[in-house]
Symmetry: none
Subunit: 232 residues, 2 copies
DNA sequence: AGAATTATTTACACAAGCTTTACACTGCTT
DNA sequence: AAGCAGTGTAAAGCTTGTGTAAATAATTCT
């Protein structure tokens, strides 16, 4: 991911220096403002991904900056305060802050909270749908893209092959009869001398084998197939 | 805004009752699970907007639930703990929690933190929807001007083509069925032998291809189309 | 209203996928 | 060991989905 940009608003030069150093070492880009007013201006910079806002500042303090931003600012705000007062904390959150950390704090906690906020935003932005649904024995199925991988290498399967593999994998470690496979995948009863299922299994095997040291299917003569779960 | 739904996971029945009453009085819909396992299952419920997760539980504790969810769960999680331990707090955040509140806490602070998280998500979502520019795989859509570019070169699309591309791109990397495209773009159910969608896709392809080294669409036979996100 | 642009329908060729067939092979039974 | 039923694989044939072009209908613009 691209480098994230943090804006520091605090009149304590020493702390700013310390935090800047730490955050830069953690891979962030850091800018700083030393008073509320210039901080307020910079807060509208689109490039900023997160704001660290100190409460105690001369002239325009943190709460006033929060109010000025209107409580629905598009850049998330993490408040810092010398006071550990609970009411303060609640007030900050109600005014639109995303989180609140009392000084003194461990750098690691600050980092964890920054990351938690940025992570949430990232998840919401990308609206991560249910990603890979099934992963068994080095074979993964991604149901939203229909992508199949075997040992991290992409495999091209036809629709029927995909469905077949999906049924087998979702019942991995258990015998699945051809009757069931035929009805689930092909939508018809298995008739005598119908070799379709065998043929599709064969094709899947042929596609997976070059990518895998072992056969993923076990044939149970007279009964059906098992997708080997491998973790035995 | 529609009523928000909160899932409570805590084995302390008394606390659950208390919190439920409070949260309901604040306008939330509340569901509860009394152990980690059933909580884990409910966590995948799409209807849940936020999870309150207690750390101290028999069998599957809060951290284990967090781990099981994989650290990038799409529903935000606020951890509750009896212990005020800092390391605990950091661990929870690093494992994917969005926030952390130590018991005992004021109801008002819990509410403020819940609202802070939900507010952020709301802001990001709106921002995303109203974001005028979509850029995926060297193709950009400017929704305010309806301009389309491919590798920085302007492309002229008709209205239907534009909408089609927009739907596909906003779900880039995922299968979009022809049924969905027909309903979203053409505003009607897909009927048999309706080739409209295919035709529009074909036209877009024809317009983009001279400007791009690779086909942006992947056809999933029998299923639909995918706009390739390219970042794989 | 007429022209131009855009959308939909139709037609057809092509390619992909599915099924059938054929035959070799395996493992079990007798 | 022979026979048999079940299985693996390859190739051929059939069916269906898809891409494209061209024709027709609808819409918009002037």
């Amino acid at each position: 991911m691209k480098q994230q940009h943090i804006l520091l608003i605090d009149d304590d030069h020493e702390l700013v220096e310390l935090l800047t150093e730490y955050l830069v070492s953690e891979g962030f880009q850091v800018s700083a403002c030393f008073d509320g007013l210039s901080g307020l201006e910079s807060a509208y910079n689109d490039d900023i991904d997160l704001i660290l806002l100190d409460v105690m500042m001369p002239e325009l303090n943190g709460f006033e900056v929060l109010k000025a931003l209107g409580g629905h600012h598009k850049t998330p705000i993490l408040m810092l305060t010398a006071r550990g007062d609970e009411t303060d904390r609640i007030l900050g959150l109600e005014l639109g802050a995303d989180d609140y950390l009392a000084k003194p704090f461990q750098h690691r906690e600050l980092l964890a909270r920054i990351k938690a906020i940025l992570r949430r935003i990232d998840i919401v932005k990308h609206d991560k749908e249910e990603s890979p649904i099934v992963l068994v024995n080095h074979v993964s199925l991604n149901h939203s893209t229909r992508e199949v991988t075997c040992h991290e290498q992409a495999v091209e399967l036809t629709g029927t092959e995909y469905q077949l593999l999906h049924v087998l994998m979702s019942k991995s470690g258990q015998i699945v009869t051809k009757e069931l496979l035929s009805e689930e995948v092909l939508g018809r009863k298995l008739t005598a001398f119908d070799r379709s299922i065998d043929m599709h299994i064969s094709n899947i095997r042929r596609k997976l084998l070059p990518l895998s040291p072992s056969d993923k299917f076990k044939t149970i003569r007279g009964a059906g197939y098992i997708f080997l779960s491998g973790d035995v």
